[in-house]
């Protein structure tokens, strides 16, 4: 499939994806409500930091950190691994493979098309955060801050999506990669800054986490949103993030291409 063909098909795929996300909006809403873990952690850390700040974080900082986490989670989530697992098991992947555009584009556009709905959820949370802690702690302070934040969100989404594709593609080699996905999720929860700012971890552990992809899925966009870094540090971290995007991209596409060769659907 040529690049031109993909470009021609993309608007239609996005439109279909958007229509789907509107059709299942109630479901989407329940999904949103079920990502309440940042709120649990917010309350917890508020209790911990009631008398004295923890590291650099006081009660107010925890509120802005975890509300930002909630918003970023909405923007960067992807569920392609579950979808691929399901379609491989059911054999319906065959239908996708018949189309002239790679299924990977379809998964990506379905994901991206849900974006407007997710922004609708994320923006009020950000506004609440501004109301609670003030604009100087809740959102980036400079224009470059906003630009870097948007870049980081995009990178975070790309890593999440590509990791999903890579793990989903593994289901073409084994029966199911659901358990694998669960292990990935556990590592994500523990290492990404989703449950606590990574800054609070001991220095040795933090050095390891800096090299893993998880922090760049969640922690980095959140830190940029709450202006935790100066420009040089932020640029350095962003470079690492996009290195991961590239690495994940190569891994995901290779696994997918090798995997699809092994795919034999019913009657195939």
């Amino acid at each position: 499939m040529s690049a031109r063909g993909v470009l021609r098909a993309l608007p239609t795929m996005l439109r279909v994806g958007f229509a789907e996300s509107i059709a299942y909006r109630a479901e989407m809403f329940v999904w949103v409500l079920s990502t309440t873990m940042p709120l649990v952690n917010m309350v917890l850390w508020m209790a911990v930091s009631k008398d004295a700040p923890v590291g650099n974080y006081g009660q107010v900082d925890f509120v802005s950190y975890f509300l930002a986490t909630f918003a970023v989670r909405q923007l960067t989530s992807a569920w392609a691994a579950w979808l691929i697992n399901w379609e491989v098991k059911q054999g319906t992947l065959a239908m996708r493979l018949l189309r002239p555009v790679s299924p990977l584009w379809a998964y990506a556009s379905e994901n991206v098309a849900g974006f407007p709905m997710r922004v609708v959820v994320a923006v009020p949370v950000v506004l609440v955060s501004v109301a609670l802690v003030g604009a100087d702690k809740a959102v980036p302070q400079h224009a470059w801050g906003w630009a870097l934040f948007l870049l980081a969100v995009l990178g975070g989404w790309a890593i999440t999506f590509l990791a999903n594709v890579a793990i989903g593609a593994l289901s073409l080699f084994m029966d199911s990669s659901q358990k694998m996905m669960e292990v990935w999720m556990v590592l994500f929860f523990v290492c990404s800054g989703y449950m606590y700012p990574v800054e609070l971890l001991p220095a040795g552990l933090r050095a390891v986490i800096d090299w893993l992809p998880f922090r760049y899925q969640m922690g980095l966009p959140v830190e940029l949103m709450t202006s935790a870094h100066d420009l040089p540090t932020a640029l350095g971290l962003l470079a690492r993030q996009w290195a991961w995007v590239l690495g994940m991209g190569v891994l995901a596409v290779t696994l997918w291409k090798q995997g699809v060769k092994r795919f034999a659907a019913f009657g195939g």
Binding site: K179, E182, M195
Partner: protein
């Protein structure tokens, strides 16, 4: 009557057991994933207690007991309650609930015992392991009376979880698509990882009230942990027993109402 139902339960358990034995590799993966999830429950605990010796009057060892109860109940929820009730939702959507309703036994009993995932018992073992470790850290054993009370509370917690589930499933008769609600429920259950008094400082204690009376999460994990430590007031114990019985009664009423609301596939 009771004997007939006990035999029926035996049959259903045996069927699930045989099915589980078919997939022996599940034993290992189940164990591994259960350990992984315990790790996510413990990670924030380590981070928090690396900074503070105690949070709202709970030390590390004591909070570990709460996580232990959380893990144990998660095993009960995912092994015994979740699978059968997800089955009900499937029945309702496909219209096959008719077959269940036609059988000469109580429909609620039939649907709640239709499927168990025995390997999830691994979570229960992990929970027990956490208790042992916690008491080693605390440097003392639980009081015998406390253990007795906590076993009683295990019963009430299971009853509460089950009733909450029956209520959720009853909603399926009206809105059909509730498989998402299971995720919602598990994410609310996340709050039960922490001693309920941790939430005291927020919104003037409103959260603690909600988690004790509206969604009784405190009753499920904090109360048993306190009982093991021998500091649960008798009034709270009595309240938990009466409260959960009342809750179960309400759930039963709602279930009967919802069944009446059910229009089968053919009508």
């Amino acid at each position: 009557m009771v004997r007939r139902y006990l035999r029926l339960l035996g049959v259903q358990l045996k069927a699930s057991g045989l099915q589980a034995l078919q997939y022996r590799a599940d034993f290992l993966t189940e164990g591994f994933t259960s350990l992984c999830w315990v790790f996510t429950a413990l990670a924030p605990l380590f981070v928090v207690y690396g900074r503070r010796p105690a949070v709202e009057g709970w030390t590390f060892g004591e909070s570990l007991l709460v996580v232990g109860w959380f893990t144990l109940l998660q095993g009960v929820l995912e092994g015994a309650i979740n699978p059968s009730l997800t089955g009900v939702v499937e029945h309702i959507r496909k219209g096959t609930l008719d077959f269940v309703l036609l059988k000469p036994a109580d429909a609620q009993f039939l649907v709640s015992t239709q499927r168990f995932l025995p390997w999830r018992a691994f979570n229960v073992l992990t929970g027990l392991g956490l208790f042992v470790y916690a008491f080693m850290l605390l440097g003392r054993g639980p009081s015998p009376l406390g253990v007795l009370a906590s076993v009683l509370l295990l019963g009430t917690s299971t009853l509460l979880l089950y009733s909450l589930w029956i209520l959720t499933v009853s909603a399926a008769f009206f809105v059909v698509r509730v498989d998402n609600l299971t995720f919602l429920f598990s994410s609310i259950f996340d709050f039960a990882r922490w001693p309920s008094s941790v939430f005291k400082g927020v919104a003037r204690g409103a959260l603690t009230l909600v988690f004790t009376y509206v969604i009784p999460l405190a009753l499920m994990t904090t109360f048993p942990a306190e009982a093991m430590l021998g500091r649960l007031p008798t009034v709270s114990l009595a309240g938990a027993v009466v409260g959960s019985a009342l809750f179960a009664w309400v759930a039963r009423r709602v279930w009967i109402r919802s069944i009446g609301h059910y229009t089968s596939a053919s009508s």
